[in-house]
Amino acid sequence: MPEMTYRDALNMALKEEMRRDPSVVTWGEDVALYEGSFKVTRGLLAEFGEERVKDTPISENTIVGVAVGAAMGGLRPIAELMTVNFALLAMDQIVDHMAKIRSMFGGQVNLPMVVRMPGGGGSQLGAQHSQSLETYFMHCPGLYVAYPATPADAKGLLKSAIRDNNPVIFLEHELLYNSKGEVPEDPEFLVPFGQASVMRPGTDATIVAYARMSILAQQAAAELENDGISCEVIDLRTLTPLDTETIMASVQRTGRAVVVEECWRTAGLGGHIAATIGENCFDTLRAPVKRVSGLDVPMPYSRKIERICIPQTETIAAAVRELMAAKY
């Protein structure tokens, strides 16, 4: 299997699916001629032409809404929002339309569409450009939400998203674009939705994470191994559907859980996962479920303090250590 970057794996998925199905089209700000602000759409315009790969005006709500309409009309659009932050301008089309149309029209129409958006903090982009808004999408029935951690999952999940007949929010982490890993070349390689991946088996504690947080959790687990603490790392892959089964099975065994979320802690998705664990594993939990979260602050620009606001390998490791040390 060739090694490639998360970015290239996404690019491969886009190309394969566009080759496979002529009804797959894509648009967004600067995705065509400029080949994407993060270059994920590199080569698409050249290969598929300007009817299928289109630049748009800076009009996020309409970028999504046109995709909603096109999907209703039978195409399989992939809309890119330049970053997840701009999804705030498109919440109306995402939450009120994309997520609801099938249901409010009594199931008479499908929306086979994907909205791709890079997100996450850590690049010193300040408060308006560093948000982790995954909770907003997860807290919206009618959407699927994928957020890959590895290049292979990036490919496999994006391909599944494009083939799925439900509307999918597809998040990509800006700091993972250059990360490398083995990626199957098979154009039929798909990663199914709703199946978390056990990135690392372990016995003492379960770390539940997603996207870049899973990578940091793996690093933390490796570090903890040296201290004789064995962590199971679960990468969720999709936030909706959420693979509660895998999570619960693991926590039933380990008796301890840390949930890592890049988003703000208050009312973040980690609370839901922690609460769900609490509901299902009350008898087996040997310590309270811990959350490691983004701080409840608008992201500061300065790298010196930005770092504090995002979970890091050491904060994850510290949380596990605390959990192990606590006497209950």
Binding site: K54, G69, D92, R102, M104, G107
Partner: protein, 325 residues
């Protein structure tokens, strides 16, 4: 001098316009009654007064063309061909409704009729219409998307984004503004810097036209022309139809912000009796025929109510259905 009706359309089509307007009115007035009785709940926005727009416009479109509208859309769905019984059942929240009782008054939808939905977020339908038009264009289909909206909707960001987009991507969208001069209680000149709505398209290089929305024939001609232009050029076109709603914004609105005098003026322009007069004057229909049309419409509506009443409620389990495929 007005052109004679027969010079425009054959008799049976002229009469169908009348039938459709009368059915629309009867349907809406029956809804009001059912709302008062508590059979219809939620928001109920009635179309009474605006019938000439939906009837004329639908006739000016091809059967294949997509139609999208807002929440004041029962007649638009029915004229397009939706079964009045299933529309009424939807309003009653019954499982036999057009959307199985999940949509209600504001969310009628029938893909078989290319009736692509009533939307309740003001301005929500603009980008969706563009998307449908894109899909048609992409596949080289000879169909356009007709997007209905109100005078209040033109100040929403999506209006701007979508008009710009439609022109830029050269999408076959026919924008039809039903200017009834009010967005709830706010008169158009108090919400729009440029109250003459069709003139707002100048910034997008989209041709526009204003038409008397109380005259079904004028609307028909304008929409037919506009739709042809869209088909011919592959570009958007814009129609402003001036009209009036005889009732409040919704059943909850006594409409005190409008003067009795204003209301009277518009009442005198009621599209139904005025059109009836023309049909009679030009000998296209007799009073007896018109009376029969009204009677038939009333019967259809009664039957719709009966059907809705007798239909079963949705099953509890259905709440989890129809969300994901």
């Amino acid at each position: 001098m007005e052109t004679k009706l027969r010079a425009i359309l054959p008799d049976h089509e002229l009469i169908r316009f009348y039938e459709q307007m009368v059915l629309s009115r009867e349907f809406e007035e029956s809804c009001a009654e059912q709302y008062t009785k508590g059979h219809i709940t939620g928001f109920l926005h009635l179309y009474s007064g605006q019938e000439a727009v939906a009837v004329g416009a639908t006739a000016g479109l091809h059967r294949d063309d997509y139609i999208l509208s807002a929440y004041r859309e029962h007649p638009q769905a029915i004229i397009r061909g939706a079964d009045p019984r299933r529309v009424m059942a939807e309003l009653f929240g019954k499982s036999t409704g057009l959307c199985k009782g999940k949509g209600g008054s504001m969310h009628l939808f029938d893909p078989d009729l290319n009736f692509m939905g009533g939307y309740a977020i003001v301005g929500g339908q603009f980008p969706i219409a563009c998307g449908l038009a894109f899909s048609a264009k992409f596949r080289g289909e000879d169909r356009i998307a007709a997007c209905f909206f109100g005078d209040g909707a033109v100040n929403q960001g999506t209006f701007h984004e979508s008009l710009n987009w439609a022109r830029l991507w050269e999408l076959p969208v026919l924008f039809i503004c039903e200017n009834n001069f009010y967005g709830i209680g706010t008169e158009v000149h108090r919400s729009s810097a440029l109250a003459s709505i069709h003139r707002r398209t100048c910034g997008y290089d989209i041709p526009a036209e204003k038409v008397d929305g109380m005259d079904v024939i004028a609307v028909y001609k304008a929409v037919k022309y506009g739709a042809e232009k869209v088909r011919e050029t592959g570009m958007p076109y814009f129609i402003e139809a001036t009209t009036y709603r005889f009732r409040g914004h919704s059943m909850a609105d006594p409409a005190k912000y409008r003067s009795a005098a204003e209301h009277e003026v518009w009442k005198s322009r009621d599209p139904i009796p005025n059109y009836a007069k023309r049909l009679l004057e030009e000998g296209i229909a007799t009073q007896a025929q018109l009376d029969a049309i009204l009677a038939k419409a009333q019967e259809t509506v009664q039957e719709a109510v009966r059907f809705a009443e007798e239909s079963p409620w949705p099953e509890d389990a259905s709440v989890y259905e129809d969300i994901y495929v």
